[in-house]
Symmetry: C2
Amino acid sequence: MNEDLTSPGNTPHSLPSRRRLHMTDIARLAGVSASTVSRALNGSPLISDETRIRIAELARSLNYTVHTAARNLRSGNNRTIAVVVPYQTPTRQHISDPFFLGMLGSLADSLTDQGYDMLLSRVDAEHLVEAAQLYESGRVAGIILIGQWHHHDQLNELAVKNIPLAVWGALLPRQLYCTVGSDNLEGGKLATGHLLESGRRRIAFFGDIAFPEVAQRYQGYLQAHQQFGLQPPSELLVKTPFLAAGVREIVTYLLIHKHGFDAVFACSDLLAMTVISTLGKHGLAIPHDVAVVGYDDIALSEYFPPSLSTVRQPLEKGGQMLVNILLQQLAGTQRPQSVVLPTQLIVRESSQLD
Amino acid sequence: MNEDLTSPGNTPHSLPSRRRLHMTDIARLAGVSASTVSRALNGSPLISDETRIRIAELARSLNYTVHTAARNLRSGNNRTIAVVVPYQTPTRQHISDPFFLGMLGSLADSLTDQGYDMLLSRVDAEHLVEAAQLYESGRVAGIILIGQWHHHDQLNELAVKNIPLAVWGALLPRQLYCTVGSDNLEGGKLATGHLLESGRRRIAFFGDIAFPEVAQRYQGYLQAHQQFGLQPPSELLVKTPFLAAGVREIVTYLLIHKHGFDAVFACSDLLAMTVISTLGKHGLAIPHDVAVVGYDDIALSEYFPPSLSTVRQPLEKGGQMLVNILLQQLAGTQRPQSVVLPTQLIVRESSQLD
DNA sequence: ATGCAGATTGCAATCGATTGCATAATTAGG
DNA sequence: CCTAATTATGCAATCGATTGCAATCTGCAT
């Protein structure tokens, strides 16, 4: 029971630094075989409770942890999930949207709760298929992708390869992969309806409808107008670039060319904040001259001056559902249903009635 | 050369779904042994160029990837690094500071460049030592920790265990682990000096000096005052809570109790924004009544109204250095030097002279 | 033709765990 | 006291790659 693990041992040229603990070491100290230790630690019913407890305590006291690669190799069970965040090729810039951080945090928690590790990986948005390698090399058991962008086809390709996959994004027709997302149509309707009810009539839509999620929010924007018997003028659909600097120019352009608007529905809070900042520079008062509604409800929105009205996406729930849906794929054979989560309109100062 | 890989093969009860490709499959198709394939793919000089190229192309065309767990097990080389983000026990709340996202992005890029995978892991800040398991189970080759907080002792414990470790934070006395961080003292001096030069004399310091990084910035704040022959009043050292809501109350309390101040140095941009927002609610004008300087220079700072003066931390460089320092530990035996990166004062509207 | 150096390639052991099957220990029944 | 049934444990093969050493091949000089 008191053997010295730091003694030379098998290796002829033993190093001064102590060797990592192996299962056979535990076995020797417990006076059993490695098989028994393995079964005890994995809770096999073949092992008596007394032995199981004795081994478990021994392992804990020695701070022993099973070697993950070995277990993975032999058992074929991999408890790692890749979370893939695509980046845009030209800029390769970092995602700076706090919404992503929130999602990452939520995913990290959910995965940990389920006993999974999270491998964070950035891949070129133009070559999403490369993410397949993470799965095909046995590196991970499945993939969660944040940022559907306009890569519907590539995602379908991944799904065809039978790779367990869950995507945060919009539900699209002829979609072979599973998505979790907020109800973008409803969100767009809520935001726009709120602005219309406040009496605004020239509402600019800021966002790039090449992205499915944004396109659906735009549909909501259109439907809300229809319900009021209105038809929004096309020049108020403003395609925004990724970079905040570009957004400034766009806003300035609109103002100079007198494409007057009395409200803005921006498809992310970050975008809304940039717009507000720029409008302020041009001497316009928010919400008096222009009312603004964003999307996401990031933490800062409440503390931005003026506090930002927005459509809240259920972040916590979203992360949980992504993990759930992925684990369902790992467990069963049938593909689970995609999930559309409800959104909520949060009215704050930036769109308050005067 | 045209054998059918989807045919039953070795397994008697072969499944309909096609089996994962093995190195032996590549070997068979190339008419060589698995050893040769392994060496070819790993660029061993024992293999002739012609064979190497032929095998490499075959592998690529079949979309073959080496099984990571098997390689890891046999070769002992693990190309995964854990990035650990501690969370505070009581709230278990997500980090919402965009600075973290920036750091994660930078780390992800640097690690990818060096051919490493990134395992993102949240651990209880009170039990940081648990992070050791990631290393001891062979899960990762080393650990990068973001958020030193006040867990100096726990980090030293990890270092004693000889775990390759790099920490984003402050350089402290009797420190056994390596840190990378910005020059907090200098940063604090820069920000405070700038405010003093602008003629401000009652500068409130917002932050919790229980955290080493914040304490150093506070030292810089004090030194700047000394250089002006001034002594800041103690009631202007404001210990801030984590939650933004709490910050509002604090600011309100200060104003009610007439602890007058004409400037604020906040130890993060997010904090500065909350303070500005609250001061605005109380009818104070920024920077006319109160000048504000933050810390970090997150992306939004430029677009916040008023745009935020701040001390920029070199994020990109920080991530790179963290990775470098960790890889140095993996390569050599001696512990590399900790790194202190220069900071830069960015003056914007929130502290501009009237 | 033979021998030999140098360049390639294959054989088989190995990494650290898991697991099917055989064996040992225990208990119960006759 | 012996045998069968039951329970607990150990043996040895295995997961998919890597690598030391032996074997083969090639070309060239003898």
